[in-house]
């Protein structure tokens, strides 16, 4: 993982933890499947917050794949060319 990718992952974790009102800082990856609070409305909130924060845009059919902080960080990093 490059330094940029690592920084992105930490920021993604922080953003997701804040949206889900989880105790911060989130020291480990967060997966939607394992987090009851990550419901359908929170998912949309998280995706749009990520888009606004990183200046990226995800296709509608990519939304379901943004299902963990690791997956999100990878997709954001790919968008940003990190």
């Amino acid at each position: 993982m490059s330094a940029d990718a690592g920084a992105i992952e930490l920021e993604v974790r922080s953003l997701v933890a804040a949206a889900l009102k989880l105790p911060a800082p989130a020291r480990a990856p967060i997966a939607r499947e394992a987090c009851a609070a990550w419901d359908s409305l929170k998912h949309v909130e998280i995706v749009f917050a990520l888009e606004d924060r990183f200046g990226v845009q995800f296709d509608e059919d990519e939304f379901p794949r943004l299902d963990s902080t690791s997956a999100i960080a990878d997709m954001v990093a790919a968008r940003l060319g990190s």
């Binding site: 990550w38 359908s40 929170k42 909130e45 296709d59 509608e60």
Partner: protein, 191 residues
């Protein structure tokens, strides 16, 4: 109930369930859950259920279709309408795996309840085990009953969470959900 209520939102529309939706309903319900009611297990059984539903008053069952291409992405219903008390329950809420239909389907259900059916109050019950749907109703801003209720599920009594939305609370919920539905719809049009 053989109703003709149809609502168009930003990216999704609700239309009445028809007998030919039987296979769709079975497929969508088998894709998720758990649900309070087990439901029909095959298309023939589901068609029979829809025939009985069409004769039942106070029951409005909908398919949520993506407006861009009419893909049926979800189901929801308002039922057990108490015409005197102006209250009802909503449920049979199912969304196709991977579809972004939940937010606008809920929004349209509430619009139907408060602006079309002129209800005063709507409740929904979700099995406590269905934690992400319970969380969804919490996130939408619905009031959660302080104690769990017990419901029958596959012949077994199980705990469920009851949420309520009253007419007075609808504008706040609409204000919360509508911007997300609009932004999602714009993304769907891009696709």
């Amino acid at each position: 109930m053989d109703h003709d209520i149809a609502l168009r939102g930003h990216g999704y529309a609700l239309r009445p369930v028809r007998p030919e939706d039987a296979a769709l309903i079975v497929a969508l319900r088998n894709d998720g859950g758990p649900y309070i009611n087990r439901g029909a297990q095959d298309e023939r059984e589901q068609r029979a259920w829809i025939s009985r539903y069409l004769e039942r008053e106070g029951d409005y069952y909908f398919v949520a279709e993506r407006m861009r291409d009419a893909r049926p992405d979800g189901l929801a219903a308002i039922y057990d309408v108490d015409a005197q008390a102006r209250r009802a329950e909503w449920g049979r809420f199912v969304v196709r795996h991977g579809a972004n239909a939940a937010v606008e389907t809920a929004l349209l259900v509430y619009r139907c309840a408060f602006e079309v059916l002129a209800l005063e109050s709507l409740v929904c019950r979700t099995l406590s085990a269905n934690a992400q749907v319970v969380a969804f109703h919490d996130s939408c801003g619905l009031a959660r009953a302080p104690a769990e209720v017990m419901v029958m599920h596959d012949g077994v009594t199980r705990p469920a969470v009851e949420h309520r939305l009253d007419r007075a609370g609808w504008p706040a919920v609409e204000a919360k959900l509508a911007p997300f539905a609009q932004r999602l719809a714009a993304r769907m049009q891009d696709g």
